[in-house]
Symmetry: C2
Subunit: 455 residues, 2 copies
Amino acid sequence: MSTKKPQLRLGAFLPSTGHHVASWRHPEAQADGGLNFQHYKRLAQTAERGKFDMIFFADGVAVRDRNQGADVLSRNGKLVHFEPLTLLSALSVVTENIGLTATVSTTYNEPYHLARKFASLDYLSGGRAGWNLVTSATEAEALNFNQEKHMEHTLRYERAKEFVDVVTKLWDSWEDDAFLHDKESGIYFDPNKLHVPNHKGEHFSVRGPLNVARPIQGYPVIIQAGSSEDGKDLAAQTAEVIFTAQQTLAEAQAFYTDVKGRLVQYGRSPDHLKIMPGVFPVIGKTEQEAKDKFDQIQELIDPVVGLNLLGSMIGGFDLSGYPLDGPLPDLPETNGGKSRQQLLTDLARRENLTIRQLYLWIAGARGHRQILGTPEQIADQLEDWFVNGGADGFNIMPPWLPGGLDEFVDLVIPELQRRGLFRTEYEARTLRENLGLPRPVNQFSKVATREAAIA
Amino acid sequence: MSTKKPQLRLGAFLPSTGHHVASWRHPEAQADGGLNFQHYKRLAQTAERGKFDMIFFADGVAVRDRNQGADVLSRNGKLVHFEPLTLLSALSVVTENIGLTATVSTTYNEPYHLARKFASLDYLSGGRAGWNLVTSATEAEALNFNQEKHMEHTLRYERAKEFVDVVTKLWDSWEDDAFLHDKESGIYFDPNKLHVPNHKGEHFSVRGPLNVARPIQGYPVIIQAGSSEDGKDLAAQTAEVIFTAQQTLAEAQAFYTDVKGRLVQYGRSPDHLKIMPGVFPVIGKTEQEAKDKFDQIQELIDPVVGLNLLGSMIGGFDLSGYPLDGPLPDLPETNGGKSRQQLLTDLARRENLTIRQLYLWIAGARGHRQILGTPEQIADQLEDWFVNGGADGFNIMPPWLPGGLDEFVDLVIPELQRRGLFRTEYEARTLRENLGLPRPVNQFSKVATREAAIA
Ligand SMILES: Cc1cc2nc3c(=O)[nH]c(=O)nc-3n(C[C@H](O)[C@H](O)[C@H](O)COP(=O)(O)O)c2cc1C
Ligand SMILES: Cc1cc2nc3c(=O)[nH]c(=O)nc-3n(C[C@H](O)[C@H](O)[C@H](O)COP(=O)(O)O)c2cc1C
């Protein structure tokens, strides 16, 4: 297989009813999908049938859009859903090879809990866990955790950096071969292979060790999704996968080159970070059919919902006072998601979009790339970015679920496979191996720590 | 079925390799059970075959016994294991009727996370989740969460009380029938049925609402396991099941009467709290066989391990300086588990036990009741406490796993069923219904909150 083409990576990003803001109203959508395990079981098994590298669940620790009136809120079909780590744990039992990844915020969690839960998921799944590190972007989350304001952007990323440091130390508490289980001698583990992290830093003081053995993957795969300068820097230091939203090949190439270029200063190989922009595919037998399908779902958007989505995407501002068919007003800088606010204001100015046009533009993919077309056209677009240095793979965002995923698996995946761009069988059982990522060396095992191990 | 006898409740308390301190060394034990999903799957399915009300996992957020030397620590087979909520989520998929319960500490967690994860588990399992509320007993846990000392006992329970309050408010964020999923009108939920908790208290400020719908059971079943005055009071106010350790029928009756008596002041019926003392059964075809089995496992205890267990059970004191065959020294009061320290010192004084005798005494059941005998003898003992006001049921603690659970299910359960004391089929799909507990009314639904709902 030495002549095998480079392989692209695929994630299936699976919010309850789909990505489109009106997805739950689509005739083929599972409207109660957020809390329906059979729905998620079917999705995970479909993605595995399609040989996706991983499924991915976004997350936030609050009901978002809380600052809207009852009328807007009651039209939102995405407010309630499973907590991702409990859901992934359940899905680990009904899948075999696919990676199981989800967001957990570093701003509203403690490293010990996080390290432990992902290590536990890694054991449940035989090495298929992945963590999308985010620093959270909404004020609503702060209010659920004894705080009045969302932590300031720079501080959030400082905390995140130390958080990863603590988490990886905890994962390294035990060497891979620490456990002997020797019934005869009564020795359960080799004490030289236990390392107490004893972390004391700016934000965290965590003694350890972790009460889970070293994860099967060494570390679960670390993903990052912030595109600000702070976000990209953190990713260059710590992440193995980046989720990002890019609109044009030129932008994608610039982002790709920028982030990969940052790895060298941290002694990392560019190959060890996979960049996966989001793609929202609308698939038709003909291009026209794809466009009609898109129009059909766009028509299901209630204007108040569209406006509310736009408001929350630009940093939580209330746009209801502005005319729908007028321009986007100037906005104060947000403490939330900086990169998205920038993307949208740039777009509105560049393309001279009204508020309505802007919300229609984001209603599907929320700033990610939309591709409408036949399976061949979609494969062409993915191949174009992949071979031209814009992406290592893609995070696929079905417009509605389960139908949008079914179509991708049945129509687009076979086309990618025919072109030799995507696997027809999993290479391995672990997510890390399937992604072609190296297994991290235990940071403590190089040092002789016979005495230091047990304080 | 109106002549049916009162039914006893059974929990299966399932630590990785079993309850005995040397369980992992037992020839029939699964030595790597703590991180072996197939092992737990088999245990959960065996317990379900036995029609147990629930399985239960204890928990702590630290490697316990950290203050021991490497030699002691390396003989401990219980340091690493799955995180319970991820494990229960996975087990929800391979079971149908059995309750899925675990400990989560109120001292080292945030109510929003806890309410959310248990609500999520309740949906995954179709209404089978239960939460054992503890306030944590070890200093080691504090050190993993930015603290230098374990929070003081009274303060822990004050925090716990407010914690439950916040959690139940979050579970009540949505009324049971809030979600309409009406694709036609575009209305996803009835805004009058959303209640924002907006909790502001001494320890917590949590706005809510929860991003999970009201749990299938209303609330997951709330369990409590602290036996101090503070613990019993909290249980009387909030718990629906109590786990406890009692040695004699007289003690069990006193505890039972005491706790049930406390319910009236909170307007609760004594029937709505099930008291379940722990029982460590060693089962033989003859009484002698049971005794021999017990001796066999007792012989597997390394003295350093026994001493260490005793030290940790009496509040984390180092006993290694004291002669093994001398008396227990006087101990300073602990800030950890008060009720257990008391139980052990009383026992040592009363029975004039040496340190070695005391550790042998606790090596199996850690202060819970041990019953050695034939299936009939064990059933006699359980029946005795059950019909004489000492217990509503029992938390069964197999000495080693999986064997100890297999034997209980194959030998003791049929005997209890023959006596008409225990179900032969599950009555219902939810844990709450199987336990005969009422479904809690939503605390917000009585009030007209049309305007107040959305602030
Ligand atoms: C594919 C993708 C998924 C994301 N998932 C989450 C998520 O689950 N939770 C979240 O709070 N933010 C999520 N984000 C947002 C970012 O991670 C980040 O929090 C936000 O953009 C602010 O960071 P920044 O200022 O560095 O861009 C996601 C972004 C992308 C591109
Ligand atoms: C059956 C049973 C299970 C328990 N499980 C846990 C546990 O998982 N984690 C924990 O920290 N304490 C556990 N405990 C201990 C108590 O819940 C409590 O934390 C301790 O006894 C201190 O509280 P107290 O001073 O009120 O007794 C358990 C106790 C019993 C009887």
